[in-house]
């Protein structure tokens, strides 16, 4: 049945392209996934170096390195853009999504393999433009929120902001195409018996994420286009002098920006669910509740945007609404956390590196989650707004939590992707260094924020010196943990032991573990059949067999 969908590019399947053509022209979901992951690793190194430069500047009061404070603002901006658009999104959605959605649902490839290729190259072009924007004119010193009028032609006269806008346009177009591809793949290319309610939670997570991308990114594209024409063609969508309104930008940006944080964290939810289930050797607790909690989070994520604008002057009743709507998100989020705990409860837990990162994720996500409940309240948020409390909150709940999920995913799937297994000992050491590092780095920032230290400043009143130094020490530890990760990648490919088809044993029940390691260029050419009662966790219920 599903063969009909693949017949169209059948002639590609039969030969293995080699050399540079294999990559540049690739239509293979695994190769494209690999390229996304490499792109993310490159961007992470650039974005990481920027964050260490930021922490180095902030280690002591006074201006240490950035006499040109515009360049400091450029770094803050580029760090945000890189990490959001070119590290987390490519790795989670383009990388692991590309690799494992087809494998997990028993599809031979993505629905639109050529579109898959253009999605990647648009993203790569976006990354190039974004990095070059930092070196054009004065650079974009606007923060990743790009609020006009600061981002208008009057206050950023060079071409840097235009470069940034076009970079986001390219990356956004790539993401929209990728989202369409994932949605079509999940809806049309599931193997016989793989009903929606049997899909692994990672596939659910990617599906919900793809819908968020599809609905949120066009809004950003529209907002960016208006900014572009304001800057270059004399329109005044955001210019008061021409009847425009800077708040229009804020509404549009955050209508995209809030779903964006779920675009980042939902795939992490999926990864964490797979890992916890595998290493507890138990099916996910409350599977349907978990799947629909993600749908609920995705939906509510679209109607809470103005909680980023509590101090902007929007009306009191609006703030009351956004307070209540935002707090509602805590309910499905709570369901997820308790279901993860219940999945582990009664399990037989192996503390392999992926599981350690999943546990680390829970720690970060809970701490970042409860400060989110504080910030949801307009009546108190205005005190923390634009302070380091917010910086600490979103790094805990979204940024670092997502990085933990990505590390976990890497260790979990590297055997399947490369055919070589990572060094458990090195990975455990890397976990502890990174875990301690990020907590020393970000926890004191709660204190700085409560004390009133604004974000996005290269220098601060002397009273904030103590915790800033602690935070910078944490950044140094984090840096060691990060560089060690790159070393472990090298070590895996150089010295890694040959990975078995299923290195994790009875707990690993999703379909990717039924194919050899490394996964062959083409997989599921014969479609697997999934039995009743599986949530993509066949063998536990005696389910997955290959079709004849």
């Amino acid at each position: 049945m599903a063969y009909a969908t693949t017949a169209g590019h059948g002639e590609h399947d039969d030969h293995h392209p080699t050399g540079w053509r294999r990559w540049i022209y690739s239509t293979n979901h695994k190769d494209i996934g690999t390229m996304y992951i490499i792109l993310s690793l490159v961007a992470a190194l650039i974005g990481g170096v920027m964050s260490w430069m930021i922490r180095l500047e902030l280690a002591e009061p006074g201006i240490q390195f950035f006499d040109n404070t515009q360049f400091y603002n450029v770094l803050v901006t580029a760090h945000g853009f890189l990490m959001v658009f070119f590290v987390v999104m490519p790795a989670m959605i383009g990388g692991f999504g590309n690799w494992f959605v087809p494998l997990m649902i028993g599809a031979p490839d993505m629905a639109f393999p050529r579109m898959n290729n253009i999605s990647f190259w648009l993203t790569a072009a976006g990354l190039t433009l974004l990095v070059s924007s930092a070196f054009v004119g004065e650079g974009p010193g606007t923060g990743w929120t790009v609020y006009p009028p600061l981002s208008s032609i009057a206050y950023h006269p060079g071409a840097a902001v235009d470069f940034g806008i076009l970079a986001l346009h390219l990356a956004g177009a790539g993401s929209i195409l990728g989202a369409i591809n994932l949605i079509v793949t999940v809806f049309n290319m599931r193997a016989p018996g793989m009903t929606l309610h049997r899909m692994p939670l990672f596939v659910w997570a990617i599906l919900v994420t793809a819908f968020l991308l599809l609905l949120a990114l066009p809004v950003l594209a529209g907002a960016l286009t208006m900014l572009l024409t304001d800057r270059n063609f004399g329109t005044s969508f955001y210019a008061v002098s021409g009847g425009g309104d800077p708040l229009l930008w804020q509404h549009l940006f955050w209508f995209f920006g809030h779903p964006e944080v779920y675009i980042i964290i939902l795939p992490a939810f999926g990864i964490i669910s797979q890992i916890i289930s595998t290493f507890s050797k138990k099916p996910v607790f409350g599977y349907l509740g978990m799947a629909y909690a993600m749908c609920a989070i995705g939906f509510v994520g679209f109607i809470v945007w103005a909680h980023h604008m509590y101090t902007s002057g929007i009306g009191t009743n609006a703030r009351a609404y956004f307070t209540v709507a935002t707090m509602i998100i805590a309910v499905p989020t709570g369901i997820k956390i308790f279901s993860w705990l219940a999945t582990m409860w009664g399990g037989s837990i192996d503390f392999k590196a992926p599981m350690m990162f999943a546990l680390g994720f829970l720690w970060l996500f809970v701490i970042g989650g409860v400060t989110g409940v504080v910030l949801a309240n307009a009546g108190i948020d205005f005190v923390m707004h634009d302070t380091y409390y917010v910086v600490a909150h979103f790094h805990y709940v979204m940024a670092i939590a997502a990085i933990f999920a990505m590390f976990g995913a890497y260790y979990y799937w590297i055997g399947k992707m490369s055919g070589r297994q990572y060094s458990e000992r090195l990975a455990q050491i890397q976990f502890w260094i990174f875990f301690i590092g990020v907590n020393v780095l970000f926890f004191p920032q709660h204190f700085l924020g409560l004390g009133g230290m604004p974000r996005r400043i290269p220098d601060y009143p002397d009273a904030f010196a103590g915790w800033n130094m602690v935070s910078s020490v944490g950044a140094a530890i984090t840096m060691v943990g990060t560089l060690m990760f790159y070393y472990i990648i090298w070590h895996t490919f150089r010295y890694g032991k040959t990975a078995e088809a299923n290195p994790w044993g009875e707990g690993a029940t999703t379909l990717e573990w039924t194919v050899p390691s490394p996964a062959p260029f083409h997989t599921h050419e014969e479609l697997p059949v999934i039995g009743a009662g599986d949530h993509g966790h066949g063998p536990l219920h005696g389910g997955v067999q290959p079709a004849e």
Partner: protein, 282 residues
């Protein structure tokens, strides 16, 4: 293990809560202090209520965190592969799922009621006795007193090498904005170039200064003293050096200051401030 964790959290919570109270006895000085771990002490009714609400939130979020992390720790110890070689197959428990949906909703209701009360209290002053208009520029503030014949002056940050003893770096300005204590002040905030944000943490003040908009907030300062804040919206290269300094005087001293200030700033023609009486933004 569990008991120890709980005790630790309670001690921490108590320290945080009492810390806020102790500082109140000292002379009023709203500025950050080294190694502080909580909000700056409160010197306005709004900020006092923020403290109360934050203390409630702290108790809730610390309890939730400790509970979840304690379960996590228990699961890790009790259900590791060595102690529990055979995993259970349980993947449903309707009662449990209902409980962990319903209990968070109840906690949220407990939070929402004081939260909304605080929001509406902080939004609008009851009967403002005077008005202050604040205008943000790259990179200083201008203050206008519509009740004092639109007396207007600029408040320029003091460079580090020109600070007098006792003036904190990046916080002190040449002409602080002066306000009387025990007076409800309506504050109108705007800007004439990019978006800034007028913020004074210890008074519970933070409002975006947006060109083309007049945002309203209010303050009632309870003690004479000095209160510092910083611009709280990225506004360009000197964003970090755009401080706010409020001097609160007794009502009599304030009247004296007004008389003297009117002379001092008379030479300056302030911007037209008819806008200052415009409709409230909220």
């Amino acid at each position: 293990m569990l008991k120890k964790l709980l005790a630790l959290a309670l001690v921490a919570a108590a320290a945080v809560v009492s810390g806020a109270g102790q500082l109140r006895a000292e002379p009023a000085n709203g500025e950050p202090t080294p190694w502080a771990i909580n909000l700056q002490p409160a010197f306005s009714p709004v900020m006092e209520k923020v403290h109360d609400f934050h203390n409630l939130l702290l108790v809730i979020i610390i309890s939730v965190t400790v509970l979840v992390l304690a379960i996590l720790a228990y699961v890790m110890v009790r259900f590791n592969a060595k102690r529990n070689p055979v995993p259970s197959r349980t993947s449903h428990n309707t009662l449990l799922e209902v409980v962990w949906t319903a209990v968070p909703i109840m906690i949220l209701v407990v939070i929402a009621i004081p939260s909304l009360r605080l929001l509406f209290f902080s939004a609008k002053p009851e009967n403002p006795e005077m008005t202050l208009k604040v205008t943000g520029h790259q990179w200083y503030w201008t203050y206008t007193y519509p009740d004092q014949e639109d007396m207007t002056f600029d408040s320029i940050p003091i460079a580090a090498d020109q600070l007098k003893p006792g003036q904190p770096r990046l916080l002190a300005v040449d002409n602080p904005v002066v306000l009387p204590v025990d007076t409800t002040v309506q504050v109108l905030v705007t800007a004439d170039d990019v978006i800034h944000d007028w913020a004074v943490p210890s008074l519970g003040l933070k409002k975006d200064a947006t060109p083309g908009r007049i945002n309203e907030t209010w303050v009632r300062i309870e003690k004479p003293g000095t209160y510092y804040g910083m611009c709280s919206e990225l506004c360009g290269v000197n964003h970090y050096f755009m401080p706010i300094q409020i001097e609160a005087l007794s009502k009599e001293d304030y009247q004296a200051w007004v008389k003297q200030a009117k002379e001092q700033f008379a030479a300056k023609d302030g911007p037209a401030t008819s806008l200052a009486r415009a409709d409230r933004a909220d």
